[in-house]
Symmetry: C2
Subunit: 123 residues, 2 copies
């Protein structure tokens, strides 16, 4: 393991590390995912997908036709936001006939949640 991400401890420093801070590579990767969440319409789209029956199940999903009506933005704008969420690994999609269906990818969501609410390290 490299010490990338660990601080240079000076003589005057006195609080020890009790857990492993995020390394530079993982931080860059996760910052991109958080950027995808930094837009109100995308946040609402994400929770709207999760709030629908089937929105958390691979291969089920929510029809895009059920997502566009909730927002005062055009369908192409919704499509753009869904693409950003998909490219960030937060949702997946599948075309079935006329419509595209979207569902949440829990692995990415749980990774972010674990970062924000890690178990406190034992001292």
């Amino acid at each position: 393991m490299s010490n990338q991400g660990l601080p240079v401890v000076s003589a005057e420093c006195c609080t020890p590390l009790v857990a492993e801070p995020l390394g530079a590579g993982e931080a860059a990767e996760l910052a991109r995912v958080f950027k995808a969440l930094s837009d109100p319409v995308r946040l609402r789209l994400l929770t709207l997908i999760g709030a629908h029956a089937g929105g958390r199940e691979v291969g089920q999903g929510v029809c895009v036709c059920e997502l566009t009506g909730a927002f005062e933005v055009t369908a192409p704008t919704i499509s753009h936001h869904l693409k950003v969420l998909r490219e960030a690994g937060l949702i997946a999609s599948e075309r079935r006939g006329t419509w595209v269906y979207y569902w949440l990818l829990p692995a990415t969501l749980e990774r972010l949640a674990a970062l924000l609410k890690p178990e406190p390290a034992a001292l």
Copy 2:
């Protein structure tokens, strides 16, 4: 309760809502917090504070002198990033003598984590 955030359900829609999606007001507020997390240095600072003994305790905290050494950016840049995290409600700070001490604000972190990993609604 307003129906802000709820979709207009068309005749062809078939998957019911099983939970409450995020409303527009809360989405705008939380998007600003996620924006604060969308920078790799800020993400590393946040986890570095949390990784130190006292970094999760109000009134304890981690000296800024222990945070600057971990990054190849200037001290004023670190101060700027810490200010962004503070203004987003993710950390708090207190000056004690020469140094400023920082600690995490768990309420904000837990709110984000809960949004990303909500309990699946009962069908």
